[in-house]
Symmetry: C2
Subunit: 410 residues, 2 copies
C-alpha cells in the first residue's frame, strides 16, 4: 500500500542536512535520498563529496526518482526546478514560501495539469502542522480569522527588545551573530517572510489566491525603545503578525507589527517560537505553538510531507471556488505611528486621531487611517517612522470601487 519514495534532494543547508539525518534515523519511512544537488562545489559538507551533484538534470533526468524535495534559498532557481519536476511527473515537497507566494497560480495549475502532488507544510511555521490542519481538519468549519507569529527572527528580536530595552540595531547584530538572523535580514525584518506565509495561509484558510503586490507588509525595523515603553505602559506587547480576518464578505489581510493584549494568543509566544491562531465559526479559537525554524523542526515538517506521499496525499484545495470572499483592497484600521521628529507624523493621513504625544525627541499618534494611505514604500523610505496596528481593534471596509460601480450602473 505504501509507495517506495526515491528522493532527489535540492539543497543541503540547515534543513536539507537535517532532513538527511532525520530520514536516516527514522525507521518508519519507506523512502531514501538517492541524489543530492547543491550549488557550491567547494563548500565543506558533512557527507563525502561523491554524494553530491551540481546539475539539476542529474535529478530531473533520472526517471527512477519520483520525489523532488526542494530546499534551496533562491526562489527563481527553485521555480525552474519545481516546474520541471512537475512536467517530468515527479511529486514535489518544498519549504520555499517565497516561491509559493510569488507563483501560486502557476504552481497550482501546473501541478494539477501534470497530475502530481505539491506539498509545502514546512513553508509556514516550520514544525507546526498548520496547512495540513487547514486542509484536512478545518475544511468544514467556516473560518473567521487566522493570525500567526510566522517569523522567528523578528519575534526573537522583538522579545529581546521587550526584555532588555536595547536598540533594534544592537539586538539585530546579536541575532545575526548567533545565526538567528540572515546577513541581509530584509525578508524577515521587513515583513516579507510573514507576508509570503500569510498568502499561503489565505489560500488554505479562505480559498483566496493572492499576489505579493496586493498584500500589505510593513516591518519592525524602525521600532524604537520608546515604542516598546509605550507598549509596556499599556500592558501590551509588540509582535509581527500575519493577519487575516473575514470582515463582512471580504478578507482583510496584511503582515505588520501589532500591539497585542495579555489575553492574545501571541502575548506569551516569545523568542524563536511561532504560533498560529485559527478562529472557526463553531470550533472557537485554536492555537498551535511550536518552533518555526531550525534544522530538525523544519526537517520534521518536510518529513511529514514525504510520509504523506507514501499514501499519495494531495492538498485538495476544497475551499477554492467554494468561498466567494475576495481580498479587501481598502479598509480603515487603528494604527500607532511614532517618530523622533513630530513633523514626520504628518506623512500619515489620519481620519481620526485618538491619542497624540509630542516631545522634542519623540512623538506619536494613535488613530484611524485607511490602509491605502500606507504601503511598503512609505515604510521603507521613512526609517524614522514606526507603524503598528492593534490586534483587537475594529476594522471597517471601504467599498469604494463597488460603490462607484453601483453608481455607474444606476
Amino acid at each position: 500500500m505504501s509507495n517506495k519514495l526515491k528522493i532527489g534532494l535540492f539543497g543541503f543547508g540547515c534543513v536539507g542536512s537535517g532532513l538527511y539525518e532525520v530520514l536516516n534515523q527514522s525507521n518508519l519511512l519507506n523512502a531514501s535520498i538517492e541524489k543530492i544537488v547543491v550549488k557550491d562545489r567547494d563548500k565543506h559538507r558533512s557527507l563525502a563529496k561523491d554524494r553530491f551533484s551540481f546539475e539539476k538534470e542529474t535529478v530531473l533526468d533520472d526517471s527512477a526518482i519520483n520525489l523532488v524535495v526542494e530546499l534551496i534559498d533562491d526562489a527563481e532557481a527553485a521555480f525552474e526546478i519545481v516546474t520541471e519536476a512537475f512536467r517530468r511527473g515527479k511529486n514535489v515537497v518544498s519549504a520555499n514560501k517565497k516561491l509559493i507566494a510569488e507563483h501560486l497560480d502557476e504552481l497550482l495549475a501546473l501541478s494539477e495539469e501534470c497530475g502530481v502532488s505539491f506539498l509545502y507544510e514546512a513553508a509556514v511555521c516550520g514544525s507546526i502542522p498548520v496547512i495540513r490542519n487547514l486542509e484536512e481538519y478545518y475544511n468544514n468549519d467556516s473560518l473567521a480569522s487566522i493570525k500567526g507569529i510566522c517569523n522567528g527572527t523578528s519575534n526573537y528580536v522583538l522579545t529581546r527588545l521587550n526584555n532588555e530595552l536595547k536598540s533594534f540595531d544592537e539586538v539585530l547584530a546579536d541575532a545575526q551573530a548567533i545565526g538567528f538572523a540572515e546577513s541581509d535580514p530584509t525578508l524577515d525584518i521587513d515583513g516579507f517572510d510573514s507576508k509570503y506565509k500569510l498568502q499561503i495561509l489565505l489560500l488554505h484558510t479562505f480559498g483566496l489566491k493572492t499576489v505579493p503586490q496586493n498584500v500589505l507588509n510593513i516591518g519592525v525595523r524602525h521600532v524604537k525603545a520608546e515604542d516598546i515603553l509605550f507598549a509596556k505602559e499599556k500592558g501590551l506587547r509588540l509582535k509581527l503578525i500575519s493577519y487575516a480576518k473575514k470582515v463582512e464578505d471580504e478578507i482583510v489581510a496584511f503582515a505588520a507589527p501589532m500591539f497585542v493584549k495579555d489575553d492574545s494568543f501571541a502575548f506569551e509566544v516569545n523568542n524563536e517560537f511561532n504560533a498560529v491562531e485559527i478562529e472557526g465559526l463553531f470550533a472557537d479559537k485554536q492555537v498551535f505553538v511550536g518552533k518555526g525554524a531550525g534544522s530538525f523542526p523544519t526537517a520534521s515538517a518536510v518529513l511529514s510531507d514525504v510520509s504523506a506521499l507514501q499514501y499519495n496525499y494531495k492538498y485538495e484545495y476544497r475551499k477554492l471556488g467554494s468561498n466567494s470572499s475576495s481580498l479587501a483592497d481598502d479598509f480603515v484600521f487603528k494604527v500607532f505611528v511614532s517618530s523622533k521628529n513630530a513633523e514626520s507624523l504628518s506623512l500619515i493621513n489620519f481620519i481620526q486621531v485618538e491619542e497624540e504625544f509630542s516631545s522634542s525627541n519623540y512623538s506619536y499618534k494613535v488613530g484611524l487611517i485607511k490602509s491605502s494611505s500606507i504601503n511598503y514604500e512609505l515604510y521603507r523610505n521613512q526609517p524614522d517612522l514606526f507603524i503598528a496596528a492593534f490586534e483587537d481593534a475594529e476594522i471597517e471596509l471601504i467599498k469604494k470601487e463597488k460603490q462607484q460601480v453601483e453608481s455607474l450602473e444606476v
Copy 2:
C-alpha cells in the same frame, strides 16, 4: 467523490444539539441528520417532538442510514449501540472517551472485522484536533512524550483556586451552579476522564493498548489552600495532567495533579481551556490549545469526523505493532503529599524524602516514591491526603519482573 452521509444521531444534549445546529449552518457538507434517538420521552427539546425516536432499532434497522453519531453519556448503552452499528456496516463517530477507554480492544477489532470506520476526535480535548494530528502528521516522528490538560472542569476549578484561594468545595459548588461541573463530579475531579483520554492518546501516540485498571489516576479533590500556597511560593501552578513519557524502552503513563513551572505548556492554560504538548524526537515540542468542552467546540470536532467520512477516512493505527514499547508497571517518581494531620503522611512509603514540613494543622513531604505504592483506592479512602507529582522531575523505571525473569533464565 464525496459520499452522501445519512446520519442516525444518538443523544441530543449539549453536543448533539450543537451538532444539529452546526450541520444546518455549515453548507460545505454533504450530510443530513435523518433520525435522532433519545432516552427521555418527556424532556423539553429545541426541535418538534416528532423529530425524535426512543428505540435504538429505529436507527440501527434503517439500512439507508450509513453513519451513526453516538453522543450519549452512558458508556455501556453506547457500547451496545456502537457495536451493533458496526455489525450492520455503519460507520460510527463517537465522543465517548469512557466507552473507548474501557473497550479499546473489542472496538478496534470489531470495526476492523466489519470494515467500518470508527472516529472519535471529540473524545479527547474537544475542538483540538489531537488524534488526527497524531494519526496523520506525527506518524513518522518518534514521539518522546505527550502531556495534556484534557479535563476542562478540573482545570476551571484549579484556576479558580489559584486566583481566589477559596476552598475546593466552594469552587466546585460554583462550577456546578454554572454548568462547568456535573452534579456527580467524580469522573472529572478524580482523574478518570483525564485517564480515559490519556488511554486514547497512548494508542495514537505510542501504539499502546491499555485497560483503565492498569493506568494510575488520582484527582484534585483533596487539594487544600495550603497546597496552592506551596505552589505559589515556588512559582509553580497545579494542573491535572494526562501524562505519558517514553523512559528507556517503556512508557510511563498516569493522570494526576502536577506542579508545573512557568515555562511549562500548561502554566498559562487556564479555566476551561485544554492543551496538549507533543514532543517529537525531531519536531521538538508542539503545543495545541483550544476549548475542551462546550456545545459548539465539541460539535465542531464531531463535524470534522463526519466531514472526513465523506472521503472514507479511517484511522490507520500505523503505530500499533511497529512500536515495541510497553506500559511501565512500576517506576520511581517525585511527589508532594500533604495532610492536615502529620501522621497521615506515614501512609505513603517514601524511598527518599527531599523536603518535609509539619505544623499542628498542615504537613507535607516531598520526595521519591514507587508508583506501585499509591493507587486510586488509597487516594479515594484518604480524603485528607493530597498527592501531586512534578512535571519536570526525572522518572526512573523499576524493572523488577524483567530482572527476575532474567535471573530465573540464568
